[in-house]
């Protein structure tokens, strides 16, 4: 550990390297810093939202190695070497990701606070490839609360964006399914 690393409460910050939205970032984090607080407070990437901080709302959903997770319930220090995609990393320059565009088109939000989490979750869900029907989308998107109640519009947006999103997955999809594949007999 670096002699100049920041300390707090007698604990020294730990160095980690993550691939964040396509960029390699070398960071120093305290052990108790959640992935969410790293993004919001240390890296000023506030697109990922804190709604409950306890894994009960989904507003903090990000894609970790291509899989959707609650960034509030995991420690940044545990993800040395990981690949992370946040809402800021989904668009291709000025061109919105198909899921983002569909959310605008279908007015799949009101206040917008749950929206980045909904979108990351929807992309993660498409990558999992387990939602074939509207009922399955509803169930598999139930980890993302929307207090404004825009669920029907969220459903419509996801339904429309699924095929295009599938096309964008490529490498991400491989990663997400790796866990399943490597243990196949």
């Amino acid at each position: 550990m670096n002699q100049n690393s920041p300390t707090a409460g007698g604990i020294i910050a730990c160095p980690i390297t993550i691939e964040l939205n396509g960029q390699t970032r070398q960071l120093e984090v305290f052990p108790w810093t959640t992935l969410l607080d790293l993004l919001r407070e240390q890296l000023a990437l506030t697109g990922t939202k804190k709604g409950c901080d306890h894994g009960q709302c989904g507003a903090c959903t990000v894609l970790l190695n291509g899989r959707r997770i609650n960034s509030c319930l995991t420690l940044a220090v545990m993800h040395d070497g990981a690949e992370l995609t946040t809402i800021e990393g989904l668009a291709d320059g000025d061109s919105l990701h198909p899921m983002q565009a569909a959310f605008v088109k279908h007015d799949a939000f009101q206040c917008g606070y749950c929206t980045p989490g909904q979108i990351c979750s929807a992309v993660g869900m498409v990558s999992e490839g387990r939602a074939q029907s509207l009922g399955e989308i509803r169930e598999q998107m139930s980890g993302n609360l929307c207090r404004c109640g825009a669920y029907p519009n969220i459903l419509a947006a996801i339904e429309e964006a699924m095929p295009e999103t599938r096309k964008t997955l490529g490498a991400v999809q491989t990663d997400a399914q790796k866990g399943v594949r490597e243990v196949q007999p």
Partner: protein, 328 residues
Amino acid sequence: MNPFSYARPTRIDEAISLFQPDSRYIAGGTNLLDLMKENVVRPAQLIDITRLPLQGIEETAEGGLRIGALVSNSDLAWHPLVERHYPLLAQAILAGASAQLRNMASTGGNLLQRTRCYYFYDSTTACNKREPGTGCPARSGLNRIHAILGHSDACIAVHPSDMCVAMAALDAVVHVQGPQGERQIAFNDFHRLPGEKPERDNNLTDGELITAVELPASGFAEHSAYLKVRDRASYAFALVSVAAALKLDGGTISAARIALGGVAHKPWRRAEAEAALVGQSAGDAAFNAAADVLLQGASGFEHNTFKIDLARRAIVRALTDAAKGVAP
């Protein structure tokens, strides 16, 4: 969260040797960090076990499955062998939490989930589980989600897992390793009833680490059903859940398993209830009789007596679904 130190061993023996009384192992972290943020748990050290070689799902020589403790809930539920041979387990896992949480939560960690009792979580209140000897305000307080079976004067909390209910029904075996070496614990002996020591959820000793969960060959794939009854359609803990599994010989039951979730400090099984089904013809009469046996001694509190009747109805429904062989 309190300040703590962090270690990331890569070998199991290294992890175990790092363990101190105020250490905690962390894998998915989905429950531990939740509890740490509420100041319910305050470890001085976290030992990150995610780099240990506890991944993977393998077939055992006996035709069962050995599930590494670090296998995530979603990988387990969606594993082809689990989907094919243990649909009860897949259904139970998918009935729990959310997709995001299932992607993080580990198999071992799921066994170690702590109760959702309001008083356990709110550190301004008394709680025998959190602070032994302080009392149990749930007994005379808000107890709609609490136990109807196996509770004690000290604690009426319930175990919140869905996965464990299926594993209990399937007679899984928990493999652990600790400072004293390796041992295996039958699933039904893993979790405890609260008794006088509600602070202990399970029979692990200090420093012991779950390394794997093993499923026996029979997964009751033809006739099983997991039914979860809850206050909303998804993303809610069970009021009552039932893992039901049958073997049918024509219309006659040749083997049966029933485990209940949301009703006790551990997944609730009674060999007598299962024995009562064997030899009977699958139908309401036998299912009701088995429910009577399984719920023998059930007693509720001010807000949760409905769970007794609800459990009975859920048992009958789950057994009916299992007998039909329908995938819900």
